[in-house]
Amino acid sequence: MSRKIVVGFDGSDASLRALDFAITRAQAQGDNLLIAHVLEWSPYSFLTPSEVEERHRRRNEELKRAESAILTPVVKRVEDAGIPVATSIRYGHIAETLCRIARDEQAAMIFIGRMGASGFASRIFGSVAATLAQVAPVPVVIVP
């Protein structure tokens, strides 16, 4: 039976490595891929009146840009490898949103790249990889 693998993808080198690794796994096991791009967003941030007015337009622009600049180029690459692929663009907290996608899509695994941030910054802000490892509903593969 074909399983679904969610790949967290933001266009970075680390996320490309995760995608490449996911492609090899999917080829070996006959899985299909869901490439998920999450735009960091908090509904509890503060906006100025003109930002509020333009928000809906900006959101549409951001979605379009993410689609064309980040997802479209790699979708072809996965298709060329002969793997069924779908995409998802969402707003939200990155780790939480990836978990939600995995749950909603009944995915078998989540693949993400590791940004390699260590020390002070990641202690304060936390890292997506570490958070996912703690809270994900499915096994998580963290690709260095």
Partner: protein
Amino acid sequence: MTAFPRPLIPAAAMALAAAPAAAQGIDETVNEVFANSTGWFVSLIFSNFPGTTFPWIVGWLVVAATIFTIYFAFIQFRAFGHAIALVRGDYSDPDDAGEVSHFQALTTALSGTVGLGNIAGVAVAVGIGGPGATFWMILAGLLGMATKFTECTLGVKYRNEYADGTVSGGPMYYMTKGFAARGLPGGKILAVIFAIFCILGSFGGGNMFQANQAHAQIINVMGDYPGWITGLIMAIIVFLVIVGGLKSIASVTEKVVPFMAALYVITALIIIGMNSDMIGTAFRQIFAGAFTNDGVVGGAIGALIQGFRRAAFSNEAGVGSAAIAHSAVRTKDPVTEGFVSLLEPFIDTVVICTMTALVIIITGQLVVDPATGLFVQNEAGTQIQTITGNSGVALTSDAFSSAFGWFRYILVLAVVLFAFSTMISWSYYGLKASTFLFGEGHTKELIFKIIFCLFVVIGAAANLGPIIDFSDAAIFAMSIPNIIALYLLMPIVKAETRSYLDRLKTGRIRKFA
């Protein structure tokens, strides 16, 4: 209380202080010209009911708030819990993430209303009307929640959505579109009147009053220097943001203001806690002063007028400004934004304004005659004598710094930031009104923005008296066309509310979180 050293005057002021006489001359001229040219407008708005000393406009707002409260069967209490759930995002569809959330719409609107009305305006109310003014202020805040609910629901329902995804809303739009929908005449005329008053309001309470009181607080701490210098500096920063598109300043302000507001409330609570033995006395003064003559200017009626006036000025319920701010939220049901908006007068007036009033009362800033137990009026008989002789924002500063000497410095920062964020919000409201009147276009918008900046300078240079009169008059004038429209359109809000609450009760509207 220690005297603070004077050499803290900013460099700009030092350079310009070389000719202090000439500089003071500019302030005096500005003040005189301003008072003379706005006097007629102020007297028109604040004329009394025949044979009484009660300004008709205050009655206009309170009667409206009472009618909406009864018409919507105390919606401000019935929907309070649901409003909080909406702000928490319990009912937000995760697929709509990235759009303006209820929380963001609320905080954006709040940063326009939480301003110097909460700090300086309350001090004016308590300074003239005594502790009893607090009672009427809280009552006006609670009633005003129903007014705000009505106007914000309509603001979302009748907003304009453009092809590029931007939205414009506010009283101008519900007056034109809502009246057309109900087959009522005169919507366009009412909208034009509202837009004119809104532009004046954006120059007055949303601008000059803010600049004026920011300057007052700066000189209270730093030492005296001419107001037009503060005005010029603030005008330049406002200019950079609204004309130069310097978004970073605005977004920093938006982020810092909520923390300042929280810090303000917490400090007030600590001061109240430190004087816990005085809490009983303070509330006795508030209740007694609301109904009896305790020596304040105009007696109990004076307390009532001051309380209502400052509450309306602070939370802007019925003024129509919030309807502009709230109209951009993405929601399937306009009434949800109405629910969220009713939290605004609560936070603004019932919480923040009350804190200011309590701190002033509890720290004993108002002078009481020990023989009679009545408050002592100043020589001119215009307000209650305070320990330091200060009024407005300086009185609030005295009250807070009697407990924490350093708080006066925090308060300067809070006052300047509150003033600034309120100015940014009101420049937006005024701009919306001016584009409604004159159409969109780069040059037209630029002219409005430049005039707006000029009024910052005038506001900082003029005296508090004429500024506060004009600011009140302009903001209250907006409520005349707005409340007429609310009366005529309130059945639409009722239908929306009934339909929504029905779906909520039968589970057709469900929680996501």
